[in-house]
């Protein structure tokens, strides 16, 4: 029982990293990014490519994934910023359809581009054996080193986002454009630049999520939609507008799936879906709502 809970929490922390970017983008500009999962998969493949690039110049080692991640983060920020600035900003508005269609189109483009470049084979990022190392816990439990790292990264990412939103100038600006972009612009803020900035930050989180996902398991080009559904479920279960809510929702989703997998391997994901739908019916505002405006 404890073991299922522990495994579930560790799985959930991966989902938390999937979901934070989604939560951020929706929170700031009410944009639903249906390509979230595909961007994560794209980040994994960028990591795979980065690893083979490092290996080709003789720099493969235990620290290589870290180096790749650090290199990938600024690239991700720039890509996210540019994407929002030049493509997605044009789709924002009262009508959700344009942004949905454009991100859905991006999702199809990314999937097929990766299929073309990397084939349908599942790939992973080589961790030089770290993905199978584990620490012994009291009570006969063992916890993997990599899942523990993911958990710590998820906690740090959630805490930093929450801090960014509540205690910094940038966060205050994000909240202002989220509440009312027109009034915020009258006060001298540039909503379109702030949107671009938010998507840039979301892409840094996506890059982290993608590389860690590639280190812990195998990823194939068609995985994106399912990752999007997990991210979305975590956001809704947790309650929109709160990053710790997203964190809690993700952990709950992870534990639920883990229980499901233990009951019947064919039902793990399905049980997660069912709990999500049950939350929608019983508590549509999510477990920890803090929606502004």
């Amino acid at each position: 029982m404890t073991e299922i809970a522990l495994q579930g929490v560790l799985l959930g922390s991966v989902y938390c990293l999937f979901a934070l970017g989604q939560s951020l983008i929706f929170g700031v500009m009410r944009l639903t990014n249906t390509a979230q999962g595909d961007f994560i998969v794209l980040a994994t493949f960028a990591g795979v490519a980065g690893m083979s690039l490092l290996a080709s110049i003789g720099q493969a080692g235990a620290l290589a994934p870290l180096v790749v991640t650090l290199l990938l983060m600024p690239v991700a920020f720039a890509s996210g910023y540019a994407l929002q600035r030049h493509v997605l900003n044009g789709t924002l508005g009262r009508d959700p359809l344009p942004s949905l269609v454009v991100t859905f189109g991006l999702s199809i483009v990314i999937q097929n581009l990766l299929l073309e470049l990397f084939s349908a084979d599942p790939r992973s990022i080589d961790t030089a054996g770290m993905n199978i190392e584990s620490l012994a816990l009291p009570g006969g439990l063992a916890v993997g080193v990599l899942p523990l790292i993911v958990f710590v990264v998820a906690v740090l990412a959630t805490a930093s986002l929450q801090w960014l939103f509540s205690s910094t100038r940038l966060g205050r600006a994000f909240r202002a454009v989220s509440d009312d972009p027109e009034i915020a612009e009258l006060m001298g803020l540039d909503a379109r630049k702030l949107y671009a900035c938010a998507t840039g930050i979301a892409f840094v989180l996506i890059a982290l999520a993608g590389v860690l996902q590639g280190m812990r398991t195998t990823v194939s080009p068609a995985d994106g939609p399912l990752l999007l559904l997990y991210a979305f479920e975590a956001v809704i279960i947790g309650g929109m507008g709160s990053f710790w809510g997203t964190f809690a929702g993700a952990l709950l989703l992870g534990v639920t799936q883990q229980i499901g997998f233990r009951l019947d391997p064919g039902w793990g994901i399905g049980l997660g879906h069912l709990v999500f739908l049950a939350v929608l019916v019983v508590r549509p505002q999510g477990l920890f709502p803090k929606t502004r405006g």
Binding site: F26, R30, L31, T32, T34, V87, G90, T91, P96, L97, P98, S99, L100, V101, V102, F104, G105, L106, S107, I108, V109, Q111, N112, L113, L115, E116, P225, L226, L228, L229, F232, E233, I236, D264, G266, W267, I269, G270, H273, L274, F276, L277, L280, V281, P284
Partner: protein
């Protein structure tokens, strides 16, 4: 002070092109219906199959257009009802002993019935979250069906109920049903949009709050659209798998159905009946010409949808309409003042 007299107004509900469109439409239907008699022997079967496939895409796209373009509900989960229609038809045929062709409309009705409880969950979400929420629902359907061993689980099963019927009879019946379904879909959507309920729907699309304040039952109207769309998607699914003879959860509940529908509607023109018609024709041409390129073809479709959404918001038909002023299916009401002869 000038006296304010109310000028008599005339409500125009038809267009010059409407009559021509009806005549062309009837001619096209006649050509289609007689296809089994004039098509060359060698191509007949392939042509009919292709028509059935495109008819299913078209009906699905019409339903997506009805929801997104008129009802303001953008769904990425309509494949849930496509799959339900397919599986309901198969279960009625294989297990209840009903003739699969008779089972097709029954299966569509079953999809609408299933949609009623589903709507309570789906309607908790709005906007972009409605879109992904419906996708989760469709994926739940896929998982549930993949765990039902009676219908073959994840690997699917075959429609054995059609075993005794000859290939020619089967293909012709499926084909005629597809023609009938296409005609019925276009006519019913057209008539619905011209009715009071349809006018209410247009009002809701333009502003939910304003519509509600005018006494329109917003929730009821949206629910009606959702159920009709489920019926249509179920019909498309049942028809597709009667033609295909083999069904699997991954094929029946694939998000690609919705992806292609979005492409057709966005390229053809959202919120107009001509949109999906133009869209399916373009899709058919592109599919014939480029589908052998696989990934490159899909990348192209995705890019076209993105560019279309950003730069041609009205779609191809909207673009043509702005230049030619042609409307084939008049669903709007134009007010003409008696003293204003210019507007004709």
């Amino acid at each position: 002070m000038a006296s304010t007299t109310v000028k008599p107004v005339e409500v125009i509900r038809s267009s010059r092109h409407g009559g021509v469109a009806s005549a062309v439409g009837i001619a096209l239907v006649a050509i289609a219906l007689t296809l089994p008699y004039w098509a060359p022997e060698a191509d007949r079967s392939a042509w009919m199959r292709e028509f059935v496939e495109m008819a299913c895409y078209f009906i699905f796209a019409m339903m997506w257009n009805l929801m997104a373009g008129y009802g303001g509900m953008v769904s990425i989960g309509q494949q849930a009802f496509f799959g339900c229609g397919g599986y309901a038809m198969l279960i009625l045929g294989n297990f209840a002993g009903i003739n699969p062709f008779v089972a097709v409309p029954l299966a569509a009705a079953a999809a609408a019935v299933i949609a009623l409880p589903i709507s309570f969950v789906a309607f908790r979400l709005r906007g972009g979250y409605f879109a992904i929420g419906t996708w989760v629902i469709a994926d739940t359907f896929r998982i549930v069906v993949a765990n039902l061993s009676a219908v073959g689980g994840g690997s699917g099963t075959s429609l054995t109920a059609l075993r005794g019927i000859s290939k020619a009879t089967r293909e012709q019946t499926t084909f005629w049903m597809a023609v009938a379904a296409v005609v019925a879909t276009v006519l019913l959507v057209h008539l619905f949009l011209r009715s009071r309920r349809g006018l209410a729907l247009l009002a809701i699309r333009d502003s939910e709050v304003a519509a509600e304040s005018q006494g329109i039952d917003v929730r009821g109207t949206k629910l009606a659209v959702y159920l009709v769309a489920a019926f249509g998607c179920g019909l498309a699914g049942a028809l597709y798998f009667v033609g295909n003879l083999r069904i699997s959860p991954d094929a029946a509940f694939s998000v690609n159905w919705t992806a292609f529908a979005i492409f057709m509607v966005v390229i053809g023109g959202l919120g107009r009946i001509e949109g999906p018609i133009v869209g399916v024709l373009i899709f058919w041409v592109l599919d014939r010409a480029f589908s052998s390129y696989g990934t490159g073809y899909l990348i192209g479709l995705g890019l076209l949808a993105i560019v279309g959404t950003i730069h041609f918001k009205q779609g191809l038909w909207g673009w043509a309409q702005a230049r030619l002023g042609a409307t084939l299916f008049t669903t709007q009401r134009t007010l003409r003042l008696e003293t204003d002869p210019a507007r004709r």
